[in-house]
């Protein structure tokens, strides 16, 4: 509907003026309502009185501009070499090794079943499995997590996961001693 379609010439000046006043009123009312809604939202969301913070407290929130530190003042390399305690085995693990460790420890993830199965196989023969052996296995499979080991990773992918529902009855596996139990 174009403006031109409406004939305003039918309205005399007083009516036009009244129209103008009405439009003006509408606009002011709209501005007032807008403000009310904004204020109400600010109140309910908790940021309405933010401007009233005293100067002293405001200093706590100034942007930090120092080297080695982010704008909040936190050191951002902090977690690189932290140690975490595994909730499962209660060992202290370095942060960068924590994810792969959890994978093995909890028995989830891509490679963990293979390791577990290997351990079961070898512990069937030898009962004195030492901690260091576990470490070795862990380290060997940590290759998946670093960049330089794509060859090994690809090799592993071709191994079928013996516990997956897709496996066929005759499973080819490297360890001859492996017993299939589901």
């Amino acid at each position: 509907m174009k403006m031109e379609d409406m004939s305003l010439s039918g309205l005399d000046n007083t009516k036009l003026e009244a129209l103008a006043q009405d439009i003006y009123s509408d606009l002011v009312e709209d501005a007032c309502l807008g403000l009310c809604f904004e204020v109400h939202r600010a109140v309910k969301q908790g940021y309405f009185f933010l401007d009233d913070t005293d100067q002293e407290s405001m200093k706590d929130f100034e942007i930090v501009d120092q080297p080695g530190v982010d704008i909040f003042g936190q050191v951002y390399n902090q977690w690189k070499n932290k140690e975490c305690v595994c909730p499962n085995c209660n060992r202290s693990i370095a942060a960068s090794r924590f994810a792969p460790h959890l994978e093995k420890c909890l028995g989830m993830g891509r490679n963990s079943s293979r390791i577990a199965n290997r351990r079961i196989a070898s512990s069937n023969n030898m009962n004195n499995k030492s901690e260091s052996d576990q470490e070795d296995n862990d380290d060997v499979n940590d290759n998946d997590w670093s960049y330089g080991s794509e060859k090994k990773a690809k090799k592993r992918k071709s191994d079928k996961n013996p516990n997956s529902p897709r496996r066929s009855k005759s499973v080819k596996h490297k360890n001859g001693e492996y017993n299939v139990t589901s």
Partner: protein
């Protein structure tokens, strides 16, 4: 027919930026800050937890209408009249 015109014009007001113009002017002249201060009073009176949109609208709108500076009102009316004149065939 008269009210029909008002409605039609309301729809075209946005296209011509009258809303934005008014809001900009009102912020510029401190009207917004004045009313905000008044809002604080209402909030303190009704309580931060309990204040409703209704409370604010009822208290603020009448004051808001009155507080618009004459210069702003004048300019806006001028623009509206010009706008209407433009489209009178």
């Amino acid at each position: 027919f008269y009210w029909h015109c008002v409605q039609q014009h309301a729809r075209f007001i946005e296209r011509f930026g009258l809303k934005e113009l008014l809001r900009a002017k009102l912020t510029e002249c401190g009207w917004r800050d004045q009313l905000k201060a008044h809002c604080k009073d209402v909030i303190k009176e009704k309580g931060l937890e309990h204040v409703t949109v209704e409370d604010l609208v009822v208290e603020i709108t009448p004051k808001g209408r009155v507080l618009v500076p004459d210069s702003v009102k004048k300019e806006l009316l001028q623009r509206i009249r010009a706008f209407l004149a433009q489209h009178a065939t």
